[in-house]
Each structure stands twice: as structure tokens, then as C-alpha cells.
Amino acid sequence: MKAKFGHYLRVLGSLYLLLAITTGLAFLPLDAWNWLPSVVIAFVMAGLIMLFFMRLRQSEPLLWLTSASGFAWLSLLMLFVVLDYISRPWPR
């Protein structure tokens, strides 16, 4: 149990660190692009939680596939919606 505690504590430490980084980056004058690093870091944090807190690392391939499926469908939705909006003028 002690080993497990240290293991989870390291994951939590990494998550705290990433939270500090994403919060700090928000204050940089990136203008219109400040969403990009914060969303990338959010994905990294989500990945850490899924791998360790949700134990995907020790899970069988079926669960990997299932966990990825939701994101796969969502990325299709996002991709085509965004393509539509950036490829033609937005009526204001």
C-alpha cells in the first residue's frame, strides 16, 4: 500500500505542476492563441488521470479502445464543425 501511495502521490504532484504551468502560461501575452497551450496541457493532465487514477495502464486493450472511442467520435464532430466555420464567412 505504501508503494501505491507514493505512486499516486507522484501522479498528483505532476498534476499540481501542470496546473501551475497552465495557470502561469495564461498570463503570457499570447493574445488570440492562449487557448492552445492550456488545452494541450489539459489533455496531458487528462491522460495522466486516465492512465493512473483510472488504472488504464493496467487494463486490457478492450478498455483502452472503449476509452478512446468517445474522444474519437468527438474529434470527428469538432473537426467537421470547425472546418465548416473557418472555411466560409460567418454571418455577423
Binding site: M1, K4, F5, Y8, L9, V11, L12, L15, Y16, L19, T22, T23, A26, F27, A32, N34, W35, S38, V39, I41, A42, M45, A46, I49, M50, F52, F53, M54, R55, S59, E60, L62, L63, T66, S67, S69, G70, F71, W73, L74, L77, M78, V81, V82, Y85, I86, W90, R92
Partner: protein
Amino acid sequence: MTAEAAAEPLNFPFKEAAHQRESALFGMWIFLATEVLFFGGMFTAYTVYRYSHWQAFQEAARHQEWYLGCLNTLVLLTSGFTMALAVECARRGNRGWLLGLLTITWVLGAAFLGIEGYEYHSKFGEHLVPGSGFHFDGTDPGGSELFFVLYFTMTGMHMFHMFVGLMLILFFGVWTRFSPRETAMPNRFEVLGLYWAFVDIVWLFLYPLFYLVHPR
């Protein structure tokens, strides 16, 4: 007691504990995939409106307290940690620690809802709640109102999920406390742990999209 000592009684139609456990986890992951799509629709709406009302979103986000969002993220990450440990204890049949960790997780979850409730309260005071009382001085008040529509809808749905999680923790915790000592139901805690971690993950995206757009 060896690791993974706690075993679940077999329910129909399962003949092996491993099969029963895998089915429980598989079912939860499928549910979570549908949840990704449920929240995903709202994230897509956010993407579209942030793209089309860029300036208005920047102006609206100035009224967000980034430090409250950051504090909430800290609270939620910590609760994810205690929940992961609680699941570990449930798998080992360590009831005392399980109940203790569930209590800490519950308190952290409740603290999150408290902080969020405080934010909602101050939004009402600043007339930033969409509807007839909404008032915003900016270049595009309609666009800024959209920001707050999305803010209240998405954080509101997230809070509802948190509330359900808290009720489940309470129910399973009380159930464990008053059931016979040898009753171990690690599967339901693993499934609950997956749900709680998912609710954490949703917040990880809400935080930058609503609090870090334009921090002061």
C-alpha cells in the same frame, strides 16, 4: 492480507470473478464514452461561439476570478487522488482506510460545490446571469451573454455530475459502514472511482476555457 484480497460474490450470469469485474469496468467505460459525447456537444458549441465572438468572450472572461477556478482545480485533483487511493483500499478489503478516504473525497467534492456556489452567487450580484437581468457594458453584449450562457450550462452540468458523485459516495460509504465486515464489493468502488475521475477530467477542460481566457 495479500494484495487484491477482496473478492466480490459472483452474480448471475458470471462464473468467474475476473469476468464479472471486466464487465463492470467495460460497462462504465462505455457510459463514460457517451458522457464524453454529452459534454462534447457543449464543448463544440463553445468552440463555435468563441470563434465567432472572439472579442466578446475576451471581455466577458475578465469578470471571471481565475484564482477561484485554480483553487477548485486543486481541490478536485486532490479528491481524484484520494478517490484513487480509496479504490485501492477497496480492492484490498481495507475497510477502515476506504471509509476514511471516501470521507475526505466527499468533503473535497462538497468544498468544490461550495466554491462554485459562491461564484454563482457573485455572478447574480454583478448581473452576469443570462436572462432579463443580464447587463454587460462591452462591444458585443450579446456575445458576452453567450459566454455566460455556456459558463452556466457547462459548469452547471458539471456540478450536477459532482452532486450525483457525492450522493453515490455517501450511499456506498454508508452501505459499507453498516454491512457485515466480510462483505467486500470492490467492483462498485472501482466503477465509482472511474466516474469520479471522469468528472475531474471534464473540469480540467472547463478551467482553461472559462477562467484562463483573459486572466487579470
